[in-house]
Symmetry: C2
Amino acid sequence: MPREPTSTDRHSRLTIDLGERSYDIWIGDGLLDAAVAWQGLPQSARALVVTNDVVGPLHARALLDRVAPLHGSVDCLELPDGEVHKNWQTLNLIFDRLLEKACDRKTVLYALGGGVVGDMTGFAAACYMRGVPFVQVPTTLLAQVDSSVGGKTAINHPLGKNMIGAFFQPVRVVCDLGLLRTLPQRELSAGLAEVIKYGPIADLTFMDWLEPRITELRGLDASALAYAIRRCCEIKAGVVAADEREGGLRAILNFGHTFGHAIEAGMGYGTWLHGEAVGCGLVMAAELSSRLGRVSAAFVGRLRSMVLAAGLPTVAPRMPASRWLELMRHDKKAEAGSIRFVLVDDRGRADVQPVADDIVCDVIAQCTEPSRDAGFGPST
Amino acid sequence: MPREPTSTDRHSRLTIDLGERSYDIWIGDGLLDAAVAWQGLPQSARALVVTNDVVGPLHARALLDRVAPLHGSVDCLELPDGEVHKNWQTLNLIFDRLLEKACDRKTVLYALGGGVVGDMTGFAAACYMRGVPFVQVPTTLLAQVDSSVGGKTAINHPLGKNMIGAFFQPVRVVCDLGLLRTLPQRELSAGLAEVIKYGPIADLTFMDWLEPRITELRGLDASALAYAIRRCCEIKAGVVAADEREGGLRAILNFGHTFGHAIEAGMGYGTWLHGEAVGCGLVMAAELSSRLGRVSAAFVGRLRSMVLAAGLPTVAPRMPASRWLELMRHDKKAEAGSIRFVLVDDRGRADVQPVADDIVCDVIAQCTEPSRDAGFGPST
């Protein structure tokens, strides 16, 4: 008689090795109900689950029940949903609650939500009493592949995205694929942008695997999802381990993000989802790489098709070229005027290089208009 | 013919050894004009001197001139002076300026001011683009002895002091004793509270040295000041090296601070200077140590005399005992209800222990009223 699958058959664990700040990522379907994913977490008198008003009503109860045995009392705070709320005012709601409840420096924070909740809860944990432990429970595909590794936390400033933040590692990440069943299709697509990103910058074999499976992933196939998430986390972990504080190599993870951030900021945060802006940014950055002779037009076409298959935009919004440049100069990778871009090559390698404004403007013009003739910007 | 004293004769350097985050503290008279103290600092296209509207007009010009050769452009931001401004709104002025000037992640921040400017500039540096280098140029005695070592940065929250912050090390600290000549006498006294603190917790020989020299220090004797600041920094560095992130030992540096923070918060930040509250807190914490049989009444008397000689209050403000307890429970050292205090013994050693509320209330009553009979609180 075949034995029942154990939780460890259905669930995989990936250890992120950062010395004394090492932690485990659990990936699997139904982890919110699986004791194994929650073993060994810090116990404390108080804990706070931070979520948003969309995810909270769906999943907070299950998480509260799961972690209740670890803490004397567990409180729950629902933030307003959306990137537009990723600011100091909303962050302060977390501090207010922690202090109202007299939470001490052993208090554990749980981030139950997407990237916004994760970034804000992580930053709150980094700053509250100069650091308390936090657990990531990402509920979007984007957050599962992108926020699980790297320890980046931040809030936005009116003049720039993620401008105020900290590098701060969680004590655990629990990626329950079941949580993705309540995710709107548009958000699932947005998450695929970060998944697609990993092929060109680090692993063309993964790109080959992914190319025919995008529809499967959009259909929430658990096995394909688990593999994709794990592989993305592994690749990212390798990059981050080599460069925890973003001195150099780590910047390659921002492939597509310089253009993407400009789209997000230019259109107003929240108009385009982060993943949508990155999806379009991937195509633009590939095009830029092609202009510089690093990849073939066929490679760009392949990437564009994957972005399209993911249900993401591949045509950039209309903004004056000067506005694009201004927005990209505010990007954190920029240094004193020169705009630096992550460029890829045909061997699945990436690096960061400054690119002359006129070439950048050409790419913007090309990616904004399907027809070159109707475009604005400098002619080529 | 005697040679001219070189800068290294008059200036001393103390290296704080924290691995890759090691940095130097320069201590001496006239360092703002001494090239040696500014050698080896990071160069960058942009830099920002953060100061306040009292110190800025006195010393910002000299600092701007000194560091100009290191940077393409150096901007200056004057914050409103005072502990009441150590909040998010003021912190955000720094972020606003950095982003308005398109400052990148290599931008160097200089903190020119007392503890408030240092804490806010350091926290801004910790958070801006997740971390940019900063240089401390403390202009108060308190900041020179206390903020030079330890990497603590923070802002206040309406419900608690220093509740939001980060551990973040400067790349250099320059303690120019000459800057103390423009310091009001009240602030100089406040700084002496932290100087006095180091004897009881770590070095009774230093307490013996200090006891007859408090008047000299108040008279700004450069040689005595240099020795006192250096010795305080050395002691603190030893403690911090053993416990950078305040896991245990480091808490002894908060001798007097649990009571002191309650006074500051209870009276409203800025009513009592931090050092005044700590001065009174030292006497209260010594009294508590005496109640628990750790030091003699004579020791408490000696410490009280030193605090008095420094021109600091030794009698606590009137607040209901319940208010004291409530405020102290919000202190970061508190864990889930029990209030923990730094206690000292007769051998110059300190540790942190929970103390029963009734004993704490006795000490509060005794230290609030010169006559025990007229006091409020539980009788003994």
